[in-house]
Amino acid sequence: MKIKGFILLPLTLLLGMGSVSHADDCEALNLNDDYNSPFRSMPVYDQDGSGTCYAHAAAQMVNYWRIKKGEKDLISPIYAAWQMSNNTGAKDTYAGFSKTVVSDLKKNGYCPSKQVETCLKAWKKTGGNLTDAQLIHFFEKLYKNKHIFNPLWLTDVDVSQDGYLGSRCEPLMNHVRKNEISFSYFQTSNEILKSIFKDCKPITSLASIPDPKVYEFATFKVKEQRIDESLAKGFPVAIDMCNTIRTNQKFRPMNEKNQVGGHKNAKGEKDCNYHAVLVTARKKIGNSCSYLVRNSWGAFDSPKGIQCACYLKSGYYNSNCTHPSRAKEIKEIVGCWYSKEDLLSNTDRVTTL
């Protein structure tokens, strides 16, 4: 009995030390709470119905870096999406990778947000106060089936049947019909956007941004290390996250053995919509090490049942703004918390600066 106690005591101490060490692994790291955090000078974006999450994540990573260096001018995610897709020869801005956008910005510069807005303003007004996303989507819809063997392409276009645009774009469609010849000149939506942005001279001062690095098909441990290292250095991390995690945190599209995309889990359950978002903080919640994920779905984005963090109008950062007693005190939701285990099982690609 005495011998058992003799063995058990050091064993318990060792196990205890192990748990202390584990707790230290999840030391709080937060890029939001400081009063000088670049996130305080950046809007929470709403990418709306555009497929530009990758550019929203990339532009915010770069903007965060630039604000830290004292810059105030923000890069427009919509412009970043167009510039990258145009330079890579794509027809439209639909889907892409954050790394490609950062590399493109480094090489080709950017057009300041205010100039982007000036370029798009008249078009959005002609269309009946369209959002950026609706305008881009309209052009993408308009030129989707245009090619050299389809001269009557315009007769086939019916944007009013588009579930997202509805009848909203009728004024712009009428404008197109009236000026068919000028619109026929362009072959793709990226070409017409090129003409819209033609007066914008890109500012090429981004060469000093660190080269983006991508980690995919990596083990959970590697992904975790890259996220932690980046947060510790004081930079947000872009990840491609399976959206199902928002409604089902126990969904496991990936495991240590299956790191490739993981569009379906072992049981063949429903696939994922991979969505580029930013990881901006880490802390222990209950027994779990958790990460804060910043989205581009608007300032009120807060999935049910998940703890989310916010900036209050008073200027304070609050790590738990779920079920607020006074909703109007919230300025914006800056992210929602997911446990390490849940997040890594739903993270396909990690991009760091």
Binding site: Y54, T131, N273, W297, A299, K331
Partner: protein, 139 residues
């Protein structure tokens, strides 16, 4: 006398602006498409809706009807409709016959609202929460 009258008038208008509407967990103004509109926070569904949705004078609020329609299994959103990380709230708004309206909040953050045929508004994130809550019920 005039000073007293105008002071009372100013006080009463401040009181009217801060008047608490029963049913609202909170009230706030947002600038949507350039117009300053008052909203009510409905804690039960965790959504910002146009203030008239909870006022007795106009109880019929189509924005809440849009919200409720998503709880039924009628609306289906295919996985590929969200490719590129589209905001499901924006996609759903178009699908259920609403019109998206854009707000720039204090500090420059962005938020979309879904406008119903009667002009009432609901924040589009609430639509997405309703859809996924409805999806769970369907299962």
């Amino acid at each position: 006398m005039k000073v007293l009258f105008f002071s009372l008038l100013a006080l009463s208008s401040i009181h009217a602006a801060n008047k608490k509407i029963p049913g609202c967990g909170d009230q706030s103004f947002f600038v949507v498409e350039g117009k300053k509109i008052e909203f009510c926070w409905l804690p039960k569904i965790e959504a910002w809706v146009s203030i008239h949705c909870v006022q007795k004078k106009k109880p019929d609020c189509k924005a809440l009807t849009l919200y409720q329609s998503l709880l039924k299994p009628v609306v289906v959103m295919e996985s590929e409709e969200l490719n590129g990380g589209k905001n499901p709230g924006s996609v759903l708004c178009g699908k259920i016959g609403g019109t998206l309206q854009y707000a720039i909040l204090e500090g420059g953050s962005q938020q979309t609202f879904c406008s119903a045929a009667d002009g009432s508004l609901i924040d589009s994130n609430a639509l997405s929460n309703a859809y996924y809550a409805g999806e769970k019920i369907k299962k």
